[in-house]
Symmetry: C3
């Protein structure tokens, strides 16, 4: 091996990229269990201090506001009837301490005998690396009801990094 | 680079963490194809010898019992009508040779023209690292029908590792 | 550390394996946003030049044909009404410059008040590593309607690599 130091430096960069992708998967996989168990502080802690959740049916800024949404009447009703906030494996682009993840969100609601797929959204996560890890600076949901804004969100998420 | 050996040791630890997360994704991604193709031995091989599957509608201990469930009447009926056991990207906490993964399970059943979402569960995977890889020591499903036990399962899965 | 060079070489191999798994996740996570935003060239670019998409309802060979399907009448209608092509976390086997990923595909369609799960398929991705990254040489969908071909596809995908 001609220059072991250079090889190790290259490895460090690759491992950093993998660590980031793995950490962002963990962040997104945390949201559903936090939201569906009504753990409002945990859900809010996924955002930066002044992070935004723009869910189309409403928008909230800051951890306190986001926690308030989770512990609010509407959300509580879904939970007590039985619901699942399901997020799919995202497409991720990372640029230093910023990242964008794009995926689908599904809100499944218990309907007695079955579950119904109440909402399917395109969802965009604008992420920032804080000292204690990746956090959500801005999350945007767009309902997939044919409105062009959802297509725009999806297109923007994959345009930032063509697959190599 | 001041101490190449220390740098490489640190890299090894990070790569081990990534390997574990990747292997647990593979384990969980294997279950659906095994179950939905009726390959009972493959599905059972994902568990430890005396592993438990507590699926609320029934509980089975040991590979033989789990294989028997997969090849049993109820499961076979689902398969012949058309079904998909879908599992979402899990939240994972790893502690040495033990790990917990928490995600959602969906049982989709063919309904003629469409599919119905027959069951949506919170699902917890207590995993153990065997000489031949990660295996399931205990899997627990809780239907998301509003019962507090499902919320408890979700909460427990993310409490074990706050996102960093 | 007895032989630092050997340790680093082993690390490189593990990181290559992780890079491949991460890149294949990215490839699959790109398809939905490309297809659901009607970005036909992006969707087609995920295939090799002469790659095949055998979706059971139709089969297309080559990027031009695949782009034509995405920009065609049927697909456009789904998009304008609101749809989501959702793919689950795949099980992956890698062998040098070839790989197979096996997962589920769901086509969700907006139905006014709710979404319906219009199609659930077993989907197989035969992948090839090109100079510019992993590409799809052949993708096959089989509807999970009880037909044995879907079970065969699922079984084949996990048989190529027993979980270790």
């Amino acid at each position: 091996m001609p220059d072991l130091e250079a090889v190790v430096t290259a490895l460090q960069e690759r491992v950093q990229r993998l660590d980031d992708q793995a950490a962002i998967y963990q962040l997104i996989a945390n949201y559903g269990p936090a939201a569906d168990s009504g753990w409002s502080e945990m859900a809010a802690s996924l955002w930066t201090e002044d992070g935004i959740y723009d869910a189309q049916v409403g928008a909230w800024q800051g951890r306190e506001a986001i926690a308030g949404m989770i512990s609010g009447e509407t959300h509580r009703k879904y939970i007590l009837e039985g619901c699942a906030h399901i997020l799919t494996m995202p497409y991720i682009t990372i640029d230093g301490d910023s990242a964008v993840a794009t995926c689908y969100g599904q809100l499944m609601r218990n309907d007695g005998d079955n579950f119904r797929v109440w909402r399917v959204t395109a969802t965009r996560w604008e992420l920032h690396r804080d000292p204690d890890g990746w956090r959500i600076a801005n999350r945007v949901n767009k309902l997939l009801d044919g409105d062009p804004s959802a297509r725009e969100l999806l297109r923007q998420g994959i345009a930032e990094g063509m697959p190599r």
